[in-house]
């Protein structure tokens, strides 16, 4: 359950997620290195994956979801609308595309966008 979200059954995606938010699907970009990458809590992502956390690995430029299909998008400390040395960061255009009407984007714990 995402804090602050009232709906119980929701399709929630954490872009750049490291398993730190319960009950959401964690997305990581394709460049992620599971052998070396540890979450901000120090837990290696590989460990999180093997312990049953749900992860989706995909290009930030094209999230593999239909239009208007997700209830909640979460971003925490990830690059948005900028290219990094590893590749393109999270794209706000993709967030707007995949959110359903009334769907919410929470960035660093703050509701920043509700899709009209």
């Amino acid at each position: 359950m995402v804090p602050g979200i009232s709906s119980f059954q929701q399709l929630a995606l954490n872009l750049g997620g490291e398993g730190e938010t319960p009950d959401v699907l964690n997305q990581q970009p394709t460049w992620v290195d599971l052998a070396s990458l540890a979450s901000r809590t120090g837990k290696p992502l590989g460990d999180a994956l093997h312990s049953g956390e749900a992860f989706l690995f995909c290009d930030n430029r094209r999230l593999p979801f239909p239009d208007t299909s997700l209830d909640v998008i979460i971003t925490n400390g990830v690059p948005i609308d900028v290219n990094t040395w590893l590749g393109p960061g999270v794209q706000s255009s993709e967030i707007r595309r995949v959110l359903r009407r009334g769907g919410e984007w929470h960035d660093n714990g703050t509701l920043v966008f509700t899709k009209p």
């Binding site: 460049w31 992620v32 290195d33 070396s36 990458l37 540890a38 979450s39 901000r40 809590t41 120090g42 971003t75 400390g77 990830v78 690059p79 948005i80 609308d81 900028v82 290219n83 990094t84 040395w85 590893l86 960061g89 706000s92 960035d107 660093n108 703050t110 920043v112 966008f113």
Partner: protein, 142 residues
Amino acid sequence: MSTFAELLVNSRGRMPGDVQAEAAREFCCRVRKSRLYLRRPDEPLASGTVVVLGVASYSPEELTLLDDIDARYDHRPPDITRVDVFNVLDCHSQQDFQKFLPGSQSDVHQTPVLGIWIDQQLQSIVTGLAAVRKTLASLGML
């Protein structure tokens, strides 16, 4: 703006990408207002023990780390000459990191990235918030 973390405070209802872009633009100014040293690419390292820290200006936790280091700067161990910082968004390829972290051969896959030199000799490179905080604490800087 009095802290690094405030660079990312979204007080005007702006979109996160816009907030991050402004934080990246303001990052250098904020470093100059602190006791930390803004590292330039290919700049020679100072002598003695030098700590170089690359942070992501889009990460609230990494900006808070800079605030924590700055707050304790006057209490750092006397052998630490200087704390150099840079924004990882100034690196557009893995090779660019070598301009900020001379002698480093390893790729950077996560941030922050911390390097320690003694008299220009690289001692270690550490990446990831948990590992970097642990290392800085062991150095007496947090």
